[in-house]
């Protein structure tokens, strides 16, 4: 079970995040989670939104370079040690986490780890064997 993440290329200068989020807001697209990674003069804004393809379309129309790719939304307990459990399960199985970011769901006492891994299939197997849940796009939106 994978979810789609929207990533946007931005130059590392003031006003870029504001522009990206304003465009999404005006299009009625809700942001669930977000991370910003930067390297020198450029960066990538990664977003989990309710309508990824619409988000891509509106951002592309505004001149941004946008990608949509598959990531895992891994359910974890909001308690000590739960991230370590996921990380070691994947690590032991030889699955590399390219990057990850986490957020806490308001309603349920849950946290979610958004992770980009190098081998989605293998990660899914390992996590399921360990009894770690993965969220679908719909589940993610209902949190």
């Amino acid at each position: 079970m994978v979810v789609e993440q929207v990533s946007v290329f931005v130059e590392n200068k003031p006003g870029r995040l504001s522009k990206v989020t304003r465009i999404l807001g005006e299009a009625g697209i809700n942001i669930r989670a977000l991370s910003i990674a930067e390297l020198g003069e450029f960066g990538v804004i990664r977003l989990i939104v309710d309508k990824p393809h619409e988000a891509k379309a509106v951002l592309t129309n505004s001149g941004f370079t946008v990608g949509v790719n598959k990531v895992l939304a891994i359910e974890m307990g909001d308690e000590p040690g739960s991230l370590a459990r996921i990380a070691s399960a994947l690590g032991d199985a030889g699955v590399n986490i390219d990057y990850a970011y986490a957020f806490i769901a308001r309603a349920k006492e849950k946290a979610v780890l958004i992770a980009r891994v190098d081998d989605i299939k293998r990660a899914e197997e390992v996590l399921s064997r360990e009894g770690i849940g993965l969220l679908s796009a719909e589940e993610l939106q209902s949190l």
Binding site: S7, F9, F42, V44, F64
Partner: protein, 435 residues
């Protein structure tokens, strides 16, 4: 080969021939052109001082402005009575340059072109469609006379006069086997033919294309070859020196042979004027050895290339110039290294998804800084920073390898680089005014 004896003449004999003709040309210029006499006197040089090919370096350069300053007839070595034709190029600065030809010049040019056409593989059995412009521009008539001299069936389908639809009809109905035009027109022809439902392999009989008069790349060559189903050759010429026919690619297509019995080709540092060795990149300088109406001594072409004097597999002994890299007017000097915007473009074009929009920025910190801005397209974008960084570095490495000077590559958002109708402003030099 059209003239195998001279085309394969041992280099030593060619040099002897060149020296003999150089001495005669220098004397002829001195005696018949006041402009050259004045130049020699200013340089305290007498025609007798030119005793070897190396002595050529003592002669001052001739530049395009010299031709403009003597517009229209002031640089002719023959009275107008003996001139049978003029060609002229307008240039961008306003005052045209005028080039005169005697009857003998016209026939020498025709032989030179015929030799060049044969070098590209054209024979008297070919049907040659000359789609270069006929008129003041040298392209059309230059090819025309050369084709006739060679004995090929020549179709004067002058570009710009003959509509493209008609060009396509001629290609199809008259089974032209050779097409001569600018590379951009060849691409346009191919495009229009495809729109008409023509399959070049089925409907055309083309086997050779000779393209020139504007800079083009290996990538364009491949594009034209597959679009028109022919083998493309590069041709070089300058309107000030006859026109097309100065250089032509043989079947090896590793540079253009420049005919030593008609020209002495030198490469110079465009800044210092110093003569460079073969293999070094610089500005091409030509001295004509067989022209009557308008001989030129050390004429600066402004074209940047590299000369290759190694033996060619085709057996011709005449040196080769590589495809023109750029114009010396466009040259940037970065930390003492000559850099041409065209070199940057060539590197970027090799990397898929990069290169349509780029900008070169030159600035000075303590040293010169060369920055190349490249727009990130969806084709090269990755959500992983490491991959974007790897792309950035790859562009930097490839640029450094070609330019011999480091460039800092910046990835920018699409649309950041200003679009202008027509020629884009590819180079921004911020050093002006800085010490």
């Amino acid at each position: 080969m059209f003239e195998p004896e001279i085309e394969t003449m041992p280099v030593k004999e060619l040099k002897e021939l060149q020296l003999e003709r150089l001495k005669a040309t220098v004397k002829y210029c001195y005696e018949n052109v006041p402009f050259y006499r004045k130049k020699f006197k200013e340089a305290e040089l007498r025609p007798e001082d030119i005793k070897s090919l190396e002595d050529l370096a003592k002669i001052p350069f001739t530049v395009k402005d010299d031709l403009r300053d003597h517009y229209p007839y002031g640089i002719l070595a023959k009275p107008l009575k003996e001139v049978v034709r003029f060609h002229s190029s307008s240039g961008t600065t306003g005052i045209p340059t005028v080039v005169g030809y005697t009857k003998k010049d016209i026939s020498t040019w025709a032989r030179l072109m015929a030799r060049g056409l044969a070098t590209a593989g054209v024979t008297s059995d070919d049907i040659v469609q000359v789609a270069y412009g006929y008129g003041l521009f040298t392209g059309g008539l230059g090819f025309h006379y050369g084709c006739e001299e060679l004995g090929a069936a020549t179709i004067p389908a002058g570009g710009g006069i003959t509509p493209t639809k008609r060009q396509i009809q001629i290609l199809k109905d008259m089974h032209s086997t050779v097409l001569c035009c600018t590379p951009s027109y060849a691409l346009y022809l191919a495009e229009e033919a495809r729109k008409e439902g023509i399959d070049p392999e089925r409907d055309f009989s083309l086997r050779i294309g000779i393209f020139g008069a504007e800079p083009w790349s290996e990538a364009t060559r491949k594009k034209i070859e597959s679009a028109l189903n022919l083998r493309a050759h590069d041709v070089y010429g300058l309107s000030e020196i006859w026109g097309p026919g100065v250089g032509m690619e043989c079947e090896a297509r590793e540079g253009l042979h420049v005919w030593s019995d008609h020209f002495i080709m030198e490469v110079i540092d465009p800044e210092s004027g110093e003569v460079l060795e073969p293999g070094e990149k610089g500005e091409l300088v030509f001295t004509t050895l067989t022209r009557e109406a308008m001989p030129l001594l050390r004429y600066r072409s402004r074209d940047i290339s590299v000369v290759d004097v190694e033996p060619c597999e085709c057996g011709r002994t005449h040196p080769r110039m590589l495809r023109v890299l750029g114009r010396s007017d466009d040259m940037l000097i970065i930390r003492g290294v000559n850099v041409f915007p065209s070199q940057v473009e060539h590197v970027l074009m090799r990397i898929p998804g990069i290169g349509d929009h780029y900008q070169i920025i030159v600035d000075r910190d303590i040293l010169d800084v060369l920055r190349v801005k490249v727009e990130v397209t969806p084709e090269v974008f990755s959500d992983k920073l490491a991959e974007l960084e790897a792309l950035r570095r790859r562009v930097e490495e490839e640029l450094a390898a070609v330019l011999n000077v480091g460039a800092k590559v910046e990835l920018v958002e699409p649309g950041t680089i200003p679009r202008t109708p027509g020629k884009a402003q590819r180079v921004v030099d911020l050093r002006k005014g800085k010490i």
